[in-house]
């Protein structure tokens, strides 16, 4: 275990936890400016969280332990990948404990706890949100694992640090067809997993169009703060993985502590860029009908399958 690695892991945990609301604020601000509005400012989500933490927590009658435990578990499943994944350093002490498959599975665990909490309330909205979310999750899994496969074929491992280090040593690998196809497939996966347009509209008020929001209609106060924070962290983690698996330059690999501040800045910049790009793209898109979403996910699956195929045939 490397002290730089440990320091880096703590640093990236703080960065992801602290920066996730800022990323959400940046995305909202980009959307606002493109729509001609002034926007509330990049730090508005932090104000929202601060206020929510002070509000009264409410437990609806008829819900049980699954409802009570879900915000904490969701946040925990967002924190552990943030500590494991190579965002600021490739030498995180937990790197050998979880590889890309385990990180993806942890994010899925978070979704599952929220779905169970929604079913626990016993309302029709909760059930509807849970059912739709599970359908999207089931259809996104093949794309994720095939993209992981495509990434690991050249490297010979699904270990995150190994993939990042291999890309650092061989930069031209990024522009290979396999890599580009896998990147597009993972981008669609990110959109589907975090419930952004065109799969789900995060700011809709119509319950019948909700997927993720419908699961959290009953939460208030600190519970809601944890859920919103964890959702922003999941988006940050996924965008961070997208950035660092395909463009890892700037990450701290060695044993020197001096590389860490640069790595922090570079990572924040990359994620901010990706987030702004995603927000700008959302301005041009409308939400897909729920039963058209499987077609989108099937398309991304084909891209991932092509990525694996080209990595073999063009090897």
């Amino acid at each position: 275990m490397n002290s730089t690695g440990a320091a880096g892991a703590v640093l990236q945990l703080v960065l992801v936890a602290g920066g996730a609301p800022l990323l959400a604020g940046l995305m909202r601000q980009v959307r606002a400016r493109m729509e001609g509005r002034a926007g509330a400012g990049v730090t508005q989500p932090w104000r929202d969280l601060r206020k929510l933490l002070r509000k009264e927590p409410i437990t609806p009658r008829g819900s049980g332990p699954a409802f009570r435990a879900a915000p904490t578990v969701l946040m925990a499943t967002a924190l552990v990948p943030a500590a494991v994944a190579p965002f600021v350093t490739t030498a995180s002490p937990l790197d050998g404990a979880a590889d890309l498959i385990a990180v993806v599975a942890l994010l899925a665990l978070g979704t599952v706890t929220l779905a169970l909490a929604a079913l626990d309330t016993g309302t029709a909205f909760g059930g509807m949100g849970a059912s739709r979310e599970m359908t999207v999750l089931a259809l996104v899994e093949p794309t994720i694992l095939l993209a992981v496969f495509a990434l690991s074929v050249r490297v010979g491992s699904t270990n995150l640090a190994a993939i990042v280090t291999a890309t650092l040593h061989d930069p031209l690998r990024v522009v290979s067809p396999a890599s580009l196809l896998a990147a597009v497939a993972l981008a669609v996966v990110t959109i589907a997993e975090t419930g952004r347009l065109p799969v789900d509209n995060p700011s809709t008020h119509l319950e019948l169009t909700m997927i993720h929001e419908a699961m959290v209609l009953e939460y208030s106060g600190p519970d809601l703060a944890l859920i919103e924070w964890a959702s922003a962290m999941r988006l940050t983690v996924l965008l961070g993985l997208l950035a660092n698996l395909f463009a890892p330059w700037g990450i701290a690999t060695g044993a020197s502590l001096t590389a860490l501040p640069l790595a922090v800045g570079v990572f924040a910049g990359k994620v901010a860029l990706l987030g702004a790009g995603l927000a700008a793209a959302e301005v041009f898109m409308a939400k897909l009908r729920l039963f058209r979403v499987p077609e989108l996910l099937a398309g991304s699956f084909l891209l991932a399958l092509l990525a694996v195929a080209t990595s073999f045939f063009l090897a």
């Binding site: 509005r37 009264e56 409410i58 208030s220």
Partner: protein
């Protein structure tokens, strides 16, 4: 998409300069909001004129979101209940239940003359009374309908931004 991008560039910023906050003292509960207010709109029986004005207040021209106010779908996520219209018989219980579903600290804003004193619908057989008859009201915004500037001014008061 290129046309839309061109249109965005040509239109530029549409939001008008900020409207000053209203001079009324803010309710006590608003002190805890700290610049972030989530609003749940309840239509207790209005003619939809106030709803059009609310939509304008959150439109790009007046952009109430820049002061930290945001519309949400569930009262559990809300701090402020924005009630429009006189309270009709069928909406009295739902309004009460919405009020009870909102977590503390909460503020009720009665928007428009109908919410304040039943406006033109006073005495109608389907109307119970103004909003203050059903839930305690903290802020009132006068007008039939109140202009978006008045709505934004009241919201600035609540958020403190």
């Amino acid at each position: 998409m290129r046309r839309l991008l061109g249109k965005i560039r040509r239109t530029g910023r549409v939001a008008e300069p900020p409207i000053p906050a209203s001079e009324q003292p803010a309710p006590a509960a608003a002190a805890e909001f700290g610049g972030s207010v989530q609003i749940r709109h309840v239509d207790a029986g209005s003619c939809n004129g106030c709803e059009v004005e609310i939509a304008s207040a959150f439109s790009p021209v007046y952009d109430a979101e820049r002061y930290g106010a945001r519309l949400v779908a569930s009262p559990r996520h809300a701090d402020v209940l924005l009630v429009t219209g006189p309270v009709t018989r069928n909406m009295a219980d739902p309004l009460r239940r919405t009020y009870e579903a909102t977590p503390e600290p909460k503020v009720v804003v009665a928007l428009g003359d109908c919410a304040r004193n039943c406006g033109v619908f006073a005495g109608g057989h389907g109307v119970i009374g103004p909003v203050s008859d059903v839930v305690p009201v903290d802020v009132e915004i006068a007008g039939c309908p109140p202009p978006p500037e008045a709505i934004v001014a009241a919201l600035r008061n609540l958020t403190g931004r």
